[in-house]
C-alpha cells in the first residue's frame, strides 16, 4: 500500500510537470502579450519596462525555469490583472466552485444510481426506455443552452428561481442560497447523470447474472438486501472509475455553467484569466485543476480497493 502510494505520488509529479510544460508553452508561444500591457491607456515605454521587469522578454525556457523555481518554493506568483497573489484569488473563488461541483456530483450520483438500478431491474420496460432516453438527452444537450432554457422557464416566466449569482444582494439565508444553487447544479450534473446511469445499468445487469446473487436469493434474503448490498456494492466498482473520469469534464463544464448563471467560481476566473492572458493566473489555475483531477483518480483507485478486496495495491 505504501509503495503504491509513493509510486502514484511520483507519477503525479511527472504528470504535473508534463501539464505545466504544455500549458506554459501554449500560453507563451502565442503572439501578443498580457492584456494589461496592451492596454492603450498605458504608455508604451512604461509597458516595455513593466514587461522587462516581469521577465516577459526572456526566452520561454528561461521563463519556465523561473516559474518552476518559484513553484518549488510554493510561490505561484502575482496575477498580472489583479496584482494580488494568484493563490489568494483561487482561495476566494474555490469555495463557490466546490459547492457547485460538489452539489452537482452528489445530485448526479443519486439520480444516476436510481435510474441505472431501475433500468437494470426492469430491463426493456417503459422505465428502462425512459431512463435510456433521459441518459441520451443528458449526453447530448449543450449545458449552456439548457441553462438559458431553465432561466427562461423558472426565472422569466414563473419567477420561482433567481437567474444569477450565489445569493441575493441582501445576503439571504439558507433557502435563498439553495434557490440560487438549484439550476446551476442541475445543469452541471446532466452530463454526469447520463454517463453514470448508463454504466450503472450495464454494470448492474452484469452483476445480477452472477451465481452469488442466486445464492443470496436462495438463502431467503429479502430482495432489497440482495439488490442494495450484494448487487449494488459490486456494480459500483466500475461506476466509481467513471465518476473519476467525469471529474475533468465537470470542471470544464463549470466554466460554461458559471458563465451562464454568473456564478462567482473558479471557472469564470479561469475564463477571464485566459481572455486577459494573465499568465501566472492561468498557470496557477491549471495546476490547481490538474491536482484535483489527479487526486480524484487516486481516490477512485483507493475506493476500488475498498469495494473489491480481491484488488491489492502493488
Amino acid at each position: 500500500m505504501t509503495t503504491f502510494l509513493i509510486r502514484r505520488l511520483l507519477q503525479s509529479v511527472l504528470l504535473l510537470f508534463i501539464v505545466s510544460v504544455v500549458i506554459f508553452t501554449i500560453v507563451h508561444a502565442a503572439p501578443g502579450g498580457p492584456a494589461v500591457l496592451i492596454n492603450p491607456e498605458i504608455d508604451p515605454r512604461t509597458a516595455q519596462e513593466f514587461a522587462e521587469q516581469l521577465g516577459l522578454n526572456d526566452p520561454v525556457p528561461v521563463q519556465y525555469g523561473r516559474w518552476l523555481g518559484n513553484v518549488a518554493r510554493f510561490d505561484l506568483g502575482l496575477s498580472l490583472q489583479h496584482s494580488v497573489p494568484t493563490t489568494t484569488l483561487i482561495r476566494e473563488r474555490f469555495p463557490a466552485s466546490l459547492l457547485l461541483a460538489g452539489s452537482a456530483m452528489a445530485l448526479a450520483t443519486v439520480v444516476a444510481l436510481v435510474l441505472g438500478i431501475v433500468s437494470a431491474l426492469k430491463r426493456y420496460s417503459v422505465w428502462d426506455y425512459s431512463a435510456t432516453l433521459v441518459a441520451f438527452l443528458g449526453l447530448s444537450v449543450p449545458g449552456f443552452w439548457l441553462g438559458i432554457m431553465l432561466i427562461i422557464v423558472f426565472s422569466v416566466k414563473l419567477g420561482w428561481l433567481p437567474s444569477s449569482g450565489m445569493a441575493s444582494d441582501q445576503g439571504g439565508g439558507f433557502v435563498d442560497r439553495v434557490k440560487h444553487l438549484v439550476m446551476p447544479a442541475f445543469v452541471l450534473s446532466t452530463f454526469a447523470v447520463a454517463q453514470l446511469a448508463r454504466y450503472t445499468r450495464s454494470s448492474m445487469i452484469e452483476v445480477l447474472r452472477n451465481d452469488y446473487i442466486r445464492t443470496a436469493r436462495a438463502k431467503g434474503l429479502s430482495e432489497r438486501i440482495v439488490i442494495l448490498q450484494h448487487a449494488l456494492r459490486n456494480a459500483l466498482i466500475p461506476v466509481i472509475t467513471v465518476l473519476a473520469v467525469t471529474t475533468p469534464r465537470l470542471i470544464g463544464g463549470a466554466v460554461i455553467t458559471e458563465t451562464v448563471f454568473a456564478w462567482p467560481g473558479m471557472g469564470r476566473l479561469a475564463a477571464n484569466a485566459a481572455f486577459t492572458r494573465d499568465y501566472p493566473l492561468v498557470m496557477a489555475i491549471t495546476m490547481c485543476v490538474a491536482v484535483l483531477v489527479i487526486t480524484s483518480n487516486l481516490l477512485a483507485d483507493l475506493c476500488y480497493g475498498m469495494l473489491d478486496p480481491r484488488i491489492t495495491f502493488k
Partner: protein
C-alpha cells in the same frame, strides 16, 4: 454441416470474420460483402439509430442546399423589422438586427456540422498515428506517448480549448485545429489497445515472417482490426465536437459574426430572453437534435461493430 456454418456466420459475423477464420476470410470479396450485409441487418434493428441517420441526412442535406432552401440572404438586414414575430415572410421572425432567423439557422448549420466533422477527422488522424506508433513500437516510445496522453487527459479538454483560442484568437481554422488537438487522446488509447491485441494474432506473425515491413503490417494487417472501434469513437466524437464548438462560440471564441453558426446565434440571444425567448430556443434545439442523432448512431454502431464494448 454447411448449413450450420452459414447460420453461425449470420449470427455472429464479427466474430467469424475477426478471429475464427482469421486472415483468409478477409481476402474473399463475397464473404466480406455478406458480412457488411449481416452487420447492416443487426444495425437496422435499432430503430433509434435509423431515426438518427434520417435526421442527420436531413440536416446535412439542408446545410448543403442552404442557398436554395433559405428564403432570404442570412446577412440581409430588414431594418424596419427588428424583433419581428413569425410571419409568412419571416417564418421564425427576425433577430435583434432584423435578420431572418430561419435563413440564419439553415446557413448556421453549415459551420456547426462541418466543424464537428473536420475536427473529428483531425482528432482521429492524430490519435491513430500516435496510438498505432505507441502500440506497435512498445517500449520507451509507448511509455513516453502514453504518459503524454495521461498528461493531456489531466487538463479538462474544454478548458484547454478555451485557453488556446483565447490566446491565439478565434477563427474557423483555429476552432477546428483546437477541437482536433484536444480530443485525440481517447482515440489514441483505443487504437493502441486494438494494435496490442492484433499484434498477438498469428497472421501478423506470418506477415512478419515473410518479411513485410512494419508500415505495411500496420497498414494492411493491424489497423484494419481497429477500424470498427475507430468508427464508433469517431461518430461519438463528432457529437462531442459539435457541443464543444457551440460552447466555445457561446463564450465568443467561435466563428465571428456576421457569419451565423448555431453557437454564436445563441451567444447573442441571452440578452433578449425577456422579450424573445424563442431566439435562444431554435439554435439550441438544432444542436441538441444533431448531437442526439450522432450519439444514437454511434451507440448503435458500437452494439453492431464492437460487441465487446457494448452496454448490455
Amino acid at each position: 454441416m454447411a448449413g450450420q456454418t452459414i447460420e453461425r456466420a449470420r449470427a455472429a459475423p464479427a466474430q467469424v470474420a475477426g478471429t475464427d477464420r482469421g486472415v483468409w476470410s478477409r481476402e474473399g470479396q463475397s464473404s466480406s460483402r455478406s458480412g457488411v450485409r449481416a452487420l447492416w441487418r443487426r444495425f437496422r434493428r435499432n430503430r433509434l439509430a435509423i431515426v438518427g441517420i434520417v435526421v442527420l441526412m436531413a440536416f446535412y442535406g439542408l446545410a448543403f442546399a442552404a442557398p436554395w432552401v433559405a428564403p432570404h440572404d442570412p446577412d440581409r438586414i430588414f431594418l424596419m423589422q427588428r424583433f419581428a414575430g413569425p410571419s409568412a415572410e419571416h417564418w421564425l421572425g427576425t433577430d435583434e438586427t432584423g435578420r431572418d432567423v430561419f435563413s440564419r439557422l439553415i446557413y448556421g448549420s453549415r459551420v456547426s456540422l462541418t466543424v464537428g466533422l473536420i475536427a473529428t477527422l483531425v482528432a482521429v488522424s492524430i490519435g491513430t498515428i500516435l496510438g498505432a506508433a505507441a502500440g506497435y513500437a512498445g517500449g520507451a516510445l509507448d511509455a513516453v506517448l502514453m504518459r503524454f496522453v495521461d498528461g493531456m487527459l489531466t487538463i479538462p479538454t474544454f478548458f484547454l480549448a478555451l485557453l488556446v483560442l483565447a490566446v491565439f484568437g478565434p477563427s474557423l481554422r483555429n476552432l477546428v485545429i483546437v477541437i482536433g488537438l484536444t480530443s485525440w487522446m481517447i482515440v489514441a488509447r483505443v487504437v493502441r489497445s486494438e494494435v496490442l491485441r492484433a499484434k498477438q494474432e498469428e497472421f501478423v506473425g506470418a506477415a512478419r515472417s515473410i518479411g513485410a515491413s512494419p508500415l505495411r503490417i500496420l497498414r494492411f494487417h493491424v489497423l484494419p482490426q481497429a477500424v470498427p472501434s475507430l468508427i464508433v469513437s469517431a461518430t461519438l466524437g463528432v457529437a462531442h465536437a459539435i457541443i464543444v464548438e457551440s460552447s466555445l462560440s457561446y463564450l465568443g471564441l467561435g466563428v465571428r459574426p456576421p457569419t451565423s453558426t448555431w453557437g454564436n446565434m445563441l451567444s447573442g440571444s441571452q440578452a433578449y430572453i425577456w422579450n424573445r425567448p424563442d431566439l435562444a430556443l431554435y439554435p439550441g434545439l438544432l444542436i441538441l437534435l444533431s448531437v442526439l442523432a450522432f450519439n444514437m448512431v454511434g451507440d448503435a454502431l458500437r452494439d453492431t461493430l464492437d460487441p465487446r464494448q457494448s452496454g448490455s
